[in-house]
């Protein structure tokens, strides 16, 4: 059975990627399980320099979801390359670096630094962080901005470029199209939904940043719809995510059109979710006699009619 996924020059041994910001730098999980079983891992978002992020509280739980405004605390590109990357290489991880920037020049510079380093498989462009003013969302919410960032990074790296799209727009598929036209090798979606929770007793926001990003199972049906829409619009692979908690959820994204899936919040709930996902997908492929995972991608059957009877 072939679970591998090709994204530009990068080949993932399976479609399971640890989502950015939900897996630290990867090394934190080395003594929890063998992280080389992952198809890949996306690092915490990296700027050129270190950042301390927002003051706590940074998260609050919501029905079947969570709100976060970490504020992209991170060690910056250079320290990552020096301190973390060698360990990740030694651990046999396929590393996708989540690149942030406050300017197009910063995106390009961070991308150049990680491209020069050894052991980076791809670049995920975070143009969709809803939690900090300079989080690139100004690029992620404009078609020209999206095109410009991808175009600039394309000039400085041979690595696969994977812009990560925000769901906080009217027509996400048009952003996928803009990224494709600018030379992106794939797109990741979705990042979190801008949201807020209020402590009614204090009449204050529950997190220090006032608003944060909603993730987890709550958003899954919206994310699946967006992946499906993008699938109709672009030819490049889609890395689908948003609320995946079990193999059935992952398969939903794949059938909707995702070539690979990322899992974030569910890794908090169960750091051992990965083997369960892998087993569940393998079992499904056996039951349905699917030899290559790629044969399952985007196979949603939308003929109406039969869908009717519930007893079906």
């Amino acid at each position: 059975m072939d679970l591998s996924v090709r994204i530009g020059s990068m080949t993932l041994k399976n479609p399971l990627i640890a989502a950015s910001g939900c897996f630290g730098y990867g090394v934190e999980y080395a003594d929890v399980f063998d992280i080389s079983i992952l198809g890949g891992l996306a690092t915490k978002g990296l700027f050129l320099s270190e950042r301390e992020g927002h003051p706590p509280p940074r998260i609050v739980e919501t029905p079947a979801g969570m709100l976060n405004a970490i504020g992209l605390q991170g060690i910056g590109a250079s320290r990552f390359v020096e301190e973390k990357l060698p360990q990740l290489r030694a651990l046999g991880a396929t590393v996708i670096v989540n690149v942030c920037g406050t300017t197009i020049a910063e995106y390009a510079e961070v991308s150049r630094i990680v491209s020069d380093a050894e052991g980076v498989a791809a670049i995920e462009l975070n143009i969709s962080c809803p939690n900090i003013k300079e989080g690139g969302i100004q690029f992620g919410c404009s078609l020209t901005g999206t095109f410009a960032v991808v175009d600039a990074v394309r000039k400085v790296t041979q690595l696969p470029i994977i812009p990560k799209l925000t769901p906080n727009v009217t027509d996400v598929a048009s952003f996928a199209r803009a990224a494709e036209e600018a030379g992106a090798d794939a797109v990741s979606l979705v990042n979190t939904f801008l949201a807020m929770v209020i402590d009614v007793e204090t009449r204050r926001p529950k997190i220090s940043n006032i608003v944060g990003g909603l993730s987890g199972p709550a958003i899954r049906p919206i994310a699946v719809r967006m992946v499906y829409e993008c699938r109709q619009m672009v030819k490049i692979p889609i890395l689908g995510m948003g609320g995946i908690a079990d193999a059935r959820d992952a398969l939903e994204f794949i059938i909707a059109g995702a070539a690979a899936v990322q899992v974030g919040t569910a890794n908090f709930v169960d750091p051992f979710v990965w083997t369960k996902l892998l087993d569940g997908i393998t079992d499904y492929m056996q039951r349905h006699q699917i030899a290559r995972l790629s044969d399952l991608v985007g196979t949603l059957d939308t003929r109406t009619g039969d869908a009717a009877g519930i007893s079906a």
Partner: protein
């Protein structure tokens, strides 16, 4: 090396309308557990509540042969998940991930050990006291709560030979007021040459006061902090505590992996 155990409730003892002790059969979990470590618990099924919740390991449960069979947690009901833990029925499944975090550093004689607990902050001290007394260390428990009805397990600590100093906000048991007051007086009375370690766990305000008091008297202090934790493994950066770095800067440290036990004098208490 934490593991995730589908633990089953073996007993649920209500201590009050808010507090209970939940005993969990969790073989394997406790083989490496040290005082001050915690577990991440998921008490409900489904996705609401979604995240696990951190709980100190209160007691390591053992069979007659002394082999660990599981743990108990001292729970205070303040919301959804602690409510589920309070209502948990024998036989019910509770997912239990651990042991997690940096434990207390246990001193050696001739050190004395002073444990300062506020409310449910008592939780990590049952195992710590057992370890300390096992090394023959003179141990004092400063323990404060809202009222005498919320001061638990006193006989357990007495049985270990731990000296108790109690305060209640309503004065119903021990001295009226906050626990830091007697701690302060006693620290002042303590001969300077004596070796001493202060251990503290409880509400943020109490921890800050304890750390400052210990520092003022030139005493080392290990505090176990309580932060909202999304993962307990260093993955989410939700649990950070602002701490002073060696070069004097402020840095957000992940209390789930650098802590929960941290050096009181390095935390930047706001």
């Amino acid at each position: 090396m934490p593991i995730d155990v589908a633990a089953h409730v073996v007993a649920n003892h209500a201590l009050s309308t808010d507090y209970n002790v939940l005993s969990l059969a969790a073989p394997g979990l406790t083989t490496t557990a040290a005082p001050g470590q915690f577990v991440m618990i998921k008490a409900g099924r489904g996705h609401d509540p979604l995240l696990r919740r951190p709980f100190s390991i209160f007691e390591v449960l053992r069979d007659e042969r002394g082999t660990p069979t599981g743990i108990s947690i001292l729970n205070k009901r303040i919301g959804v998940s602690t409510g589920l833990v309070y209502d948990a029925r024998p036989g019910q499944r509770v997912d239990c991930l651990g042991p997690l975090g940096r434990p207390f550093t246990i001193v050696e004689p001739p050190n004395e050990a002073w444990m300062v607990a506020g409310g449910v902050g008592l939780a990590p001290f049952a195992e710590l006291a057992t370890a300390l007394r096992g090394r023959g260390i003179a141990t004092v428990l400063f323990y404060g709560a809202r009222s005498g009805a919320e001061l638990f397990y006193l006989d357990f600590f007495r049985g270990l030979g731990v000296e108790l100093v109690l305060t209640t906000e309503d004065g119903s048991l021990g001295e009226r007021g906050r626990i830091v007051a007697p701690l302060d007086r006693r620290l002042a009375a303590q001969p300077a040459e004596s070796a001493l370690m202060v251990y503290a766990c409880g509400p943020e305000g109490m921890l800050a006061a304890t750390a400052r008091t210990a520092a003022r008297h030139g005493r080392r202090c290990q505090v176990s902090v309580e932060r909202l934790m999304g993962c307990g493994l260093g993955g989410c950066y939700s649990c950070v505590v602002p701490m002073r770095t060696d070069d004097g800067r402020s840095h957000h440290v992940r209390s789930c992996i650098a802590g929960p036990v941290l050096a009181g004098d390095q935390i930047l208490w706001d």
